[in-house]
């Protein structure tokens, strides 16, 4: 299963990157979200996965009796999801503002800047 997930992670990275490389800002944001998912999956996988044993101690126990999933990657991913949410929200609004200012979704219209002014 890890192999499949590793491939899936690769696909997410690839498709996210591909989307970022498009000219549409909306696609850019979609790409960012895909990459965000991809990296979460990567952390999840590299922290090793365990089936059906959530890191929650049973009500009657004081610590785990059995194997359990590594909680650290989960906590990290949670944090990363929340942070990405903040960033994505802002990015989405940025797109909107940009569209309002420029009336285009085309990133290539945003290249005036780097030339010598």
């Amino acid at each position: 299963m890890e192999i499949l997930l590793a491939i899936m992670t690769g696909i997410l990275y690839a498709s996210g990157t591909y989307m970022i490389l498009r000219r549409s800002i909306v696609k850019l944001i979609i790409g960012i979200i895909l990459l965000g998912n991809g990296v979460n999956l990567l952390i999840f996988l590299l922290g090793r996965i365990t089936k059906g044993e959530p890191p929650i101690i049973s009500p009657e126990l004081k610590h785990f009796a059995d194997i359990y999933a590594d909680p650290i990657p989960q906590a990290l991913i949670l944090t990363s999801i929340v942070i990405s949410f903040g960033l994505q929200a802002f990015a989405i609004i940025l797109v909107k503002r940009t569209y309002k200012a420029l009336h285009t979704d085309d990133l290539d219209m945003l290249n005036t800047l780097d030339e010598d002014s």
Partner: protein
């Protein structure tokens, strides 16, 4: 959206979802949940209301401005983070616990306050973002 059916539903769902969000918040230390998801659900409750009734009406029914919830929540979390520092000279984030055991919540300690702060922040942030967007959509 001007649809009667949705409005009726959102009337029912709003308090239920809020209740549920608090539930999710408090059980977080023992079971899946916590301040983050709780806060999101609370926000979603109002978002649903806003979809049904429009933003103006939703604003009317919220007593506390969401913009105020953000610093408030952060203050709560911040307070529980530095409480040990101020009170006992312990490092920040050190857990302080009230003796005793409570249903659902379990033990009451600074961690709970911390998570409550998270709840408010997430609630406030999500509402602020969504309200701002819909106002300027």
């Amino acid at each position: 959206m001007k649809t009667l059916i949705l409005r009726t539903a959102s009337d029912i769902l709003l308090p239920v979802l809020l209740l549920f969000s608090v539930f999710i918040l408090f059980r977080g230390h023992y079971l899946p949940g916590g301040g983050f998801v709780g806060g999101l659900i609370a926000a979603i409750a109002f978002v649903l209301h806003a979809f049904a009734y429009g933003l103006k009406n939703t604003r009317k029914i919220i007593k506390i401005h969401p913009g105020f919830l953000m610093p408030l929540g952060l203050l709560i979390s911040f307070g529980s983070a530095i409480a040990p520092l101020v009170a006992e000279g312990l490092p920040i984030m050190t857990g302080l616990w009230v003796p005793g055991h409570f249903p659902v919540i379990g033990k009451i300690g600074s961690a709970l306050f911390f998570d409550t702060g998270v709840y408010f922040v997430v609630f406030g942030v999500s509402l602020t973002i969504i309200f701002t967007i819909s106002e300027n959509a």
